[in-house]
Amino acid sequence: MVAIDATDVSKRYGTETALDRVELTVEEGETFGFLGPNGAGKSTFINVLLDFVTPSQGSVEVFGHDCQREGVAARERLGVLPEGYSVFDRLTGRQHVEYAIRSKDADDDPIDVLDRVGIREAADRKATGYSKGMAQRLVLGMALVGEPDLLVLDEPSTGLDPNGAAEMRQILREENERGATIFFSSHILEQVEAVCDRVGILQNGELVAVDTIEGLRESMGGGTKLVITVDSLRNGTLETIRGVEGVETAVDGDESSNGDPTIEVTCTNDAKMDVVVELHSAGIDVVNFRTEEASLEDMFIEYTGARR
């Protein structure tokens, strides 16, 4: 069954286009990362999904329920951490979770939920006194109530320290193993890289790429990056390397620790040795040589930067 099915979704505010004909399918059981710089339209898409916002065109379905026409039915199977929320005045953390339990007609124990997100000891304090990170944990806890089939999280690691972000990822993994589909947005790439099966990259309201991380690397020409430390760098060396078949880019890199110049080359896997051979025949000594997999960050910049 399809967890999220977006068809031709557009949202315009006057002349501004926040979402531009987004087509997206998220399968049940997937962990899907929704990636993009701030203002790319990630939150707008999630707002449409939650019926906070009506799309100008197109529709989104969650487990076959139209998010606008059957919003309540769609949200019945959802756990949500929205953006731009605030906690309720004068209610404790425990009361927040109790509200979620009653609303979803679930039978979780509020203390267990708070324990799981790591704020058990703050259960009976007013949530307005929580730090941003604690509020984020609290709302994640509310989202986990009732074992939802789909978790929709908008920038879940906002306000969390690295430790908290790691705990959050761990919870997402556990939820995914339980069988929940996970859809979350982020502008922080390592988060997405660490847990996601597939990612979609949104840029200026347009979905510019949807693929697995491996797939994205594939599409980046094998995605191998060579960092070569050489004894010296001459005029024309970079041009020579760019001339090697299979090489995409060759740039002057940061100096190595002992002051030698480096060259950074992205190329297909097969071209690696050709590059070294080429350097050798140009009379340049290779001092050191390592390969890196292209990180998602490189891809991200490649995708979103190129379209600016």
């Binding site: 707002n47 906070f52 009506t54 309540v72 959802l78 929320y85 605030s86 309720f88 004068r90 509200y99």
Partner: protein
């Protein structure tokens, strides 16, 4: 239906605020004070039925202010802060959120009114007065309805305003128009039309009906017709207590319904 869950939530959040307790306390003390004073100054016989028009003079001011101050921020405030996003992320529809807020706030006003009215009723009856139970209960019902009208108006304002501040301005405009200047304006209008020679004496029937649409005037007419014994509302059928009752109900449903419709179609941003 999940509006009960929202109502319960809203009830505990609202009642937790000191300002709300203060407002409800103010309302209750107006009523109880009226119950204390009435038997002292009133002409015989002292009855709960004749207490009704007496306390109504206080209620027509106190109840609109308390009800509106209690409701104007209900949705606008949560919308501004973002707390409404938590409610609407859960499987609640916007209708549930509106109904829940209305039930909880109108409920708080009703509980405060009824409790204080019972106390006042006891003060009237003890030791020399008479209890006219049926009519007293009818008056309680009318008072609750009048409170619901103003809760509905306050909530309607809350639904159409994007921020708490705008809601407050709109709410005070409504209070000013209906509670403060309405009767003076109607009197001035009558005087002016008389001076211009358009009418002689009172306004014609349609004019009386329209100028009598203000909620507290309807509340008064309904109270005169249903609660005071031996008196009936003079005038044509459309000035009767039954029409007043029906229009009061419309005042609850109409503005809230229109405002809900607008809220339902709007984007939360």
């Amino acid at each position: 239906m999940t509006w009960e869950v929202v109502a319960r939530q809203d009830w505990s959040v609202t009642l937790g605020a000191r300002s709300v307790k203060l407002l409800l306390g103010l309302l209750a003390s107006v009523v109880v004070l009226a119950g204390y004073i009435y038997p002292i100054g009133a002409a015989e016989p002292v009855t709960t039925a004749r207490f009704a028009p007496f306390v109504l003079e206080g209620l027509r001011f106190a109840l609109p202010f308390v009800a509106v101050l209690l409701t104007y921020g209900a949705v606008a405030g949560d919308r501004e802060s973002g707390a409404i996003r938590l409610s609407l992320s859960l499987p609640h529809s916007r209708r549930d959120v509106v109904l829940g807020a209305f039930a909880s706030r109108a409920g708080l006003v009703t509980v405060a009114t009824v409790a204080s009215m019972l106390t006042a009723g006891w003060l009237v009856v003890y030791p020399f007065g008479d209890l006219v139970l049926g009519r007293f209960l009818v008056f309680l019902g009318l008072t609750a309805l009048f409170g619901a009208v103003w809760c509905g108006l306050g909530l309607a304002v809350s639904l159409v305003a994007a921020t708490r501040r705008r809601a407050l301005v709109l709410a005070f405009a409504l209070l000013f128009l209906f509670v403060v200047v309405w009767e003076t304006a109607v009197a001035a209008l009558t005087l002016g039309l008389n001076a211009a020679g358009v009418v002689d004496g009172e306004l014609p029937g349609v004019g009386q009906f329209v100028t009598g649409l203000e909620p507290s005037l309807l509340f008064e007419r309904a109270t005169t017709g249903f609660v005071l014994s031996g008196e009936s509302v003079a005038g044509p059928w459309y000035m009767s207590e039954w029409v007043a009752l029906a229009v009061l109900v419309l005042w609850v449903v109409g503005p809230l319904g229109l405002a809900y419709h607008r809220f339902d179609g709007s984007d939360l941003s």
